[in-house]
């Protein structure tokens, strides 16, 4: 489903911020046109099979989100290739594109469109979504009036309607109370039964071990470790391996 080959992503960190034409012109005059290169990902190769639950772990700034963004097609890799077969639903952030001044109803449809849900289906499922979020009474209230927990419930109820075969989940489980986490667990169970491919980013190794068939660890943009939790469906990717570029 997903093939990543020797992917590197380099960000330029300018010594001086030149975000305006004015700055650019003055920086030419003062010859302050230098930047440093920062490798967010360095030579990462990874394959994800259909129906696999892959956990991605690593400390902050290790390149987890950059990797998901490359898979989602948001960033273009500096070097290497990332090929994805099948539609990707990036649940990188719950409540993406929410407009606080618009009503819950409007926001549900905006979020649905961004996640690639067909509008007809959204119309049909609208009341179901609101019931699942337990927010039926707030349909026409501005989103501003909802508590942050309510907003998250609303976003989650929409997000799980996604029918995309590949789901990218970034730290969704980290937020929310126990009831919310329980709901997440149920939904992941359903995804697994349906044979969806899920890439789950988390700090919590217990969560990753609980859900995932396999986990990879990133550190400083380098894929340092792969381990498998399910012995039964190992096909040549059974052993833990280390990869080091000397960095």
């Amino acid at each position: 489903m997903i093939s990543i080959r020797n992917v590197s992503k380099v960000f330029r960190i300018p010594h001086q911020v030149t975000k305006t034409l004015y700055h650019r012109l003055t920086s030419i005059l003062t010859n302050a046109y230098e930047y440093e290169e920062f490798y967010a990902l360095r030579d990462v190769s990874l394959d994800v099979q259909e129906g696999e639950f892959l956990g991605i772990m690593g400390p902050n700034g290790s390149g987890k989100t950059t990797l998901l963004r490359i898979i989602a097609g948001v960033y273009r890799p500096t070097a290497g290739i990332c090929l994805v077969r099948g539609e990707v639903a990036p649940l990188l952030e719950l409540g993406l594109g929410f407009q606080p001044r618009l009503t819950c109803r409007d926001n549900v449809f905006i979020y649905g469109a961004l996640l690639g849900l067909p509008r007809d289906e959204m119309r049909m499922r609208y009341s179901e979504i609101m019931r699942f979020a337990e927010l039926e009474r707030f349909s026409d209230a501005p989103l501003d009036h909802l508590s942050s927990g309510m907003k998250m419930r609303l976003a989650f109820s929409v997000a799980i309607r996604s029918s995309a075969p590949i789901l990218l989940v970034d730290e969704v489980l980290a937020v929310g109370d126990a009831i919310f986490q329980e709901k997440c667990r149920e939904v992941f169970g359903r995804f697994k039964k349906e044979g969806r491919t899920v890439l789950l980013v988390s700090h919590d190794s217990a969560v990753v071990e609980g859900f995932c068939d396999r986990a990879v660890s990133l550190e400083g943009g380098v894929l340092i470790e792969q381990k498998s939790f399910r012995e039964s469906d190992d096909r040549g990717r059974d052993h833990t391996f280390r990869k080091n570029d000397g960095n």
Binding site: R5, N6, T20, G73, V74, L83, E93, D106, L114
Partner: protein, 280 residues
Amino acid sequence: MILAIWNLVLQLWNLIILTMSHNLQHNKSTWTRNIAIVRELAVADFRLKYHDSVLGYFWSMLNPLALFLVYHFVFSYLFIVEVPKFTLYLLSGIVFWNFFADATLSGMNALEAKASLTKKVYFPRILILLSSTATALFSFIINAAILVAVVLLFDHAALTQVLVVVPFVLFILLTLSTTLVLAVCYVYFRDTIQIWNVCLSVGFWLTPVVYNALLAPEPLRNVAFLNPIGRILVLLRAYLVFDDFPSASFVWTTTLFCLVVLGFSLWLFSRHEANIPEYL
């Protein structure tokens, strides 16, 4: 150097291997999805801009209306300009110019507002600008309908007035092209909005919106005739108000220019599209 070549070879090899093992499918569902995104973004912009009410539209009309009344007063009583049917001449100019200014500026603002969105979801980035243009187009269409109604009711009605479709379409394409080019500039230079505001103020007087290009002094006259917006305004007024027909070469060169600019802007935008989430 050797490393760079090796990297290239590696990439080519990977490309061959991977494209052989996968066949990328561009299916119909991506299209319907993109259309849905444009619609939802445009509806959201629209609701935020017009507060979902007819009153909201009247507020958006207030600015061009005030502009029209002020210029009408100034150039009918203070400095008298020699333009036949000055009211219609001015009204058509203001309606068109207002759309141009509104659409180009709101394109850059939409890009800023949707910056975080572009970092999280992939969708063709042009959709942001298409939907912001669609929002501006909404008030333009109503204003233009009022303009046409005024002409038909108070001036004259003729079958050849159907030809106004040509300047309308050309103008929308030209505005969209300008929006795309500015959007690319905005990604790299955040002060494009300020610079563009100055350009709009100057451009307003380089375009025959309120004055008659034929009677303008020599250098300004040439600028006004070379200016594509000026040319489209000449076409519009010729077809809608004056019932006279510019030469075929005038129409063709204007059309060709608009299409070339559109092609260039689409090419430029697609070249820089991938940088939007990183630089914005």
